[in-house]
Amino acid sequence: MRSIISILLLAFIAWGIVTVIGEIPFGTEKSRVGGHYVDQGREETGASNIVTSVVLNYRGFDTLGEVTVLFVAAIGLGAALATRRKKEKREIEPASLVLYTGCRFLFPLILLFGGYIFIHGHLTPGGGFQGGAIVASAFILVYLGCRGRRISETVSKTIESLGGLVFVVVGLVGLAVGGHYFLLNFLPKGELNTLFSAGIIPILYIAIGFKVGSELAGVIDHLMEESE
């Protein structure tokens, strides 16, 4: 009964969508704004990955919000899961030597890969979020493989805070030096397609990378805390 009603209602909505989707033909150019970014993006921001330039420069304010969302979620998750922790150390069966060594061997490599992704965010696909996620997955590996090893909460909190602060401060510096514009790309744009280009974009992406990495790792950490 319930599912029939649901399907009926969804069918109505689908009907509505069908009427409007015809006006959004697939595969055609629709956006003047997008075209502008593609045409002007290189000159205006100095990043060769236009998505990155949109994410961090044209729509940088969204990204600040996005970083904040993740921050809120991490904090909120901590608050929600904050119980009076009983510090009874259960005996954890240690992982086998092969697994342990493998994890320890892979961990810096994955970190390095994540770092590469977010440092080259303005040049190649990828960026702070993807790199951060990869960094976090390195920590997951450590949690799973090398039981008992934890990221220090102090360190992760510091990194989170600093990452956010860097973003805000860079933005405010833009406001200060450039007059009325928050998040102004005030640094020299550099030469296209080189690592040191695109002004503030790499700085922001590195900050985001660290922040996202530590936050996602922290999320996993919090969630796994009691399951052991």
């Binding site: 998505v51 990155t52 993807q130 996993i220 399951s227």
Partner: protein, 79 residues
């Protein structure tokens, strides 16, 4: 090409429907993970490599990990 895409979409939707029907939450999560993975491939086909990377690393991997942890801490079967 279009047939490959159609097939992928079909599999994706089937996976989603499977996620609807599985009583075992772990299987449902894996099905959802599969949805994300195929979506990530579709993103790549749609010329969005950034998004594809993000979806693969965040949507498929991390979310699934979080789900699994959560299921381990609650219960595995939908009653």
């Amino acid at each position: 090409m279009i047939l490959v895409v159609s097939l992928l979409v079909l599999v994706m939707l089937l996976a989603a429907i499977a996620a609807f029907f599985f009583k075992d939450l772990m299987s449902a999560v894996i099905a959802a993970c599969m949805v994300s993975l195929i979506a990530s491939i579709l993103f790549y086909f749609l010329q969005a490599p950034d998004v594809a990377m993000a979806e693969a690393s965040i949507g498929a991997a991390l979310v699934t990990a979080v789900f699994i942890v959560a299921i381990r801490r609650t219960e595995r079967y939908e009653k």
